[in-house]
Symmetry: C2
Subunit: 153 residues, 2 copies
DNA sequence: GACTATTGCCTTAGTTCTAAGATTCTTTAT
DNA sequence: ATAAAGAATCTTAGAACTAAGGCAATAGTC
């Protein structure tokens, strides 16, 4: 029957997806570690560089980290003097996070290096293959994300 | 120049790869959590089911967990009575991990459900598309894995 | 036979996640 | 208007995982 064959395909795809993700993540992690940053820390700085000050919740959704995790990461970046929290005038629950001067200086040197590292790590495929792969992955990810929770199975 | 365009492609691919991975992982995590398992715990049980007793180091490499992590996970599974450690006759440092009877019973019900969950989560692409995607990801991942550490940049 | 390097597992410190809680804002009903 | 319920935002506490280092056993070299 075709049912088990399809499941095998899904299972295998899950494995190679995990391994590819892990391998590339390792490159990224090593690179940012050279600047004494973890990946979530880098993600926060990068998001702030490109989007300006953000609320903690916005940051959280952007860098795919848990709500408790974002508090911890921002605490640490604040202790290093790279970002600062600011009150939100409209909502006293919420708080903005913004880069400090030294935070800007750091991320502006780390980010281009990061892009270069990823580029080098992904040279196993050519540019057009990468675009095509990206399309398929977007389809896959969007479908899966929409389906979350609706696993009546 | 084409350099920054290529970096953009790599950066975008990294983003969609991460999001797709995360979305599917969420499905998998929810499913095994219904049986009070974490993903690494499930990974250990599944590896033992299909390969028989394994050394801790073999398990570690198979499920992509840290060396401290495998000790922790096996401790917990042992406490739940799902696996047991056995001495290795040839090497007194090493130890086998094997499923217990109740471990076998559990994983034999959880695994097929797991395959089904992944299949459903990945229906955004057809079976042949999945195979093609898998090929590309394998190329990407293998290349990146081989390049690890050689980031003289 | 010692000396060094390697391998296998464990331990500890630190990072991240999940779940629950505290505070503020919003909505709805009275 | 007021109050009460519900939702959103952030933090805290405890479990899960990683990375780095440590000890013990094995293997290789002289």
């Amino acid at each position: 029957m075709g049912k088990s064959r399809r499941r095998d395909a899904a299972l295998k795809l899950w494995i190679v997806l995990s391994r590819a993700h892990r391998a590339i993540e390792d490159h990224a992690r090593l690179q940012v570690a050279r600047h004494d940053l973890t990946l979530p820390e880098f993600g926060v700085l990068e998001a702030l560089l490109h989007k300006g000050p953000l609320l903690l919740g916005e940051l959280q959704r952007k860098i795919l980290v848990s709500s408790g995790g974002i508090t911890y990461v921002v605490d640490r970046l604040e202790a290093k003097g790279l970002v600062e929290r600011r009150p939100c005038p409209d909502d006293r629950r919420a708080r903005f996070v913004a880069l400090t001067v030294s935070g800007i200086r750091l991320i502006e040197t780390v980010f281009p290096e990061h892009a270069e590292t990823l580029d080098l790590a992904m040279r196993g495929l050519g540019e057009s293959e990468q675009r095509a792969l990206g399309e398929k992955l977007r389809t896959l990810g969007t479908y899966a994300a929409e389906r979350i929770g609706s696993e009546a199975d």
